[in-house]
Symmetry: C2
Subunit: 207 residues, 2 copies
Amino acid sequence: MAAEFVVDSHRYAMRTAEFNRESVLRNAMQAFMTYGYNKTSMPKLTEVTGLHPGSIYCAFKNKKGLLLAAIEQYQADRRAHYQQLFENSTSLRCALERFLQDLTNECVADESKKVCLLTKTLNEIGEQDKEIQSALSTHLQQFESLIKQQFLTPWPDSEVMSEEAATNKARFFIMCVYGIRTYSATQCNSAELQALADQTLAASLSP
Amino acid sequence: MAAEFVVDSHRYAMRTAEFNRESVLRNAMQAFMTYGYNKTSMPKLTEVTGLHPGSIYCAFKNKKGLLLAAIEQYQADRRAHYQQLFENSTSLRCALERFLQDLTNECVADESKKVCLLTKTLNEIGEQDKEIQSALSTHLQQFESLIKQQFLTPWPDSEVMSEEAATNKARFFIMCVYGIRTYSATQCNSAELQALADQTLAASLSP
DNA sequence: CCTTTTTTTGAATATACATTCAAGATATGT
DNA sequence: ACATATCTTGAATGTATATTCAAAAAAAGG
């Protein structure tokens, strides 16, 4: 954040912000996931981020700006998480299995882990704010692309797949992921979620 | 709502409420589906129901009471809708096809039609209110039962299915329905939704 | 038409909230 | 140590909101 300014041939360096941006955004995102956007009040956000209202408005413009920044951070974190998850996969089945195992683990964990910031926010305020809606749609499509790449990867011992087939299969898979997340909001029985994941895997691998 | 009271051996009849309860609840439910619970303000509710604040508080106790009553009405309406939809089905495939066709039609319709009041409310405030959460979970499980009955129905030309198999298949089917609804919040392309419905049908019918 | 109690009315209340702002604190180059 | 602009602070502001309440209107049997 450091920048320069010059006055009367004197160069001064601007003061840099004190807080850790990533840490602030991760705390804010957790609050948004736990309570939802509307029920995460500014007092709550000052509490969890450790920033005073003025600092939040200085750094992120307003509450919505903080949400958008938290969404970006969420996306970056998730992308890194999945790239690590998919590393050294040996087959399509292996990659999808890892993804689903990770998903069901999250769904039986605490409230902030079992929800997806993107779909939760889309559900709550997507219709009311086109800027947020388009940011969320873009990010969700990136996840779909990530899955599509797994279907298109030329794994040993598997046939190649057409671009269109991969698009369809990735879309269906992501749809199932949305479904499992929603289902876990009503019933978070581990065995039931496992059964749903198994059926999702079978349906996604069948030709 | 008519009741009796007696004073000095004179019998009086209580005044009956003027508004149409079902109509009020359907208007309220549509507002909740369009804007979500938090963003449906009391001024908005007085506008769409035609009732003044005092009347709402007299009839439903408070805003949450109105939501709970709207949820009951939604459930009753939906149950009737699906019973009609399933009438005269000739096969499991036929019944599920009708359900999915109805679903995709709703998903490309206007905002209040494409969402499910139960899942939307669960997503938004389920975690914050155990009474609402349990009402929603109960209702959602009733829908799952409705689908399970279709799997258990002894259709001509189809094998019987175990209770457990029907439970699993109904759960997976409902999970897909949740997924399609969430997916349609990002992309409401009719062809894509149709493709997802087709894959859901195929996965649900495969043994 | 009178009596009684409920429903209806809508202004008033109290609270919660997002946002602003001006004063004070801090970092950095000279 | 000084100068400068930014960051930080947190109380103040204005708005939006759910809820209450007391007065007025209405229903219905006598």
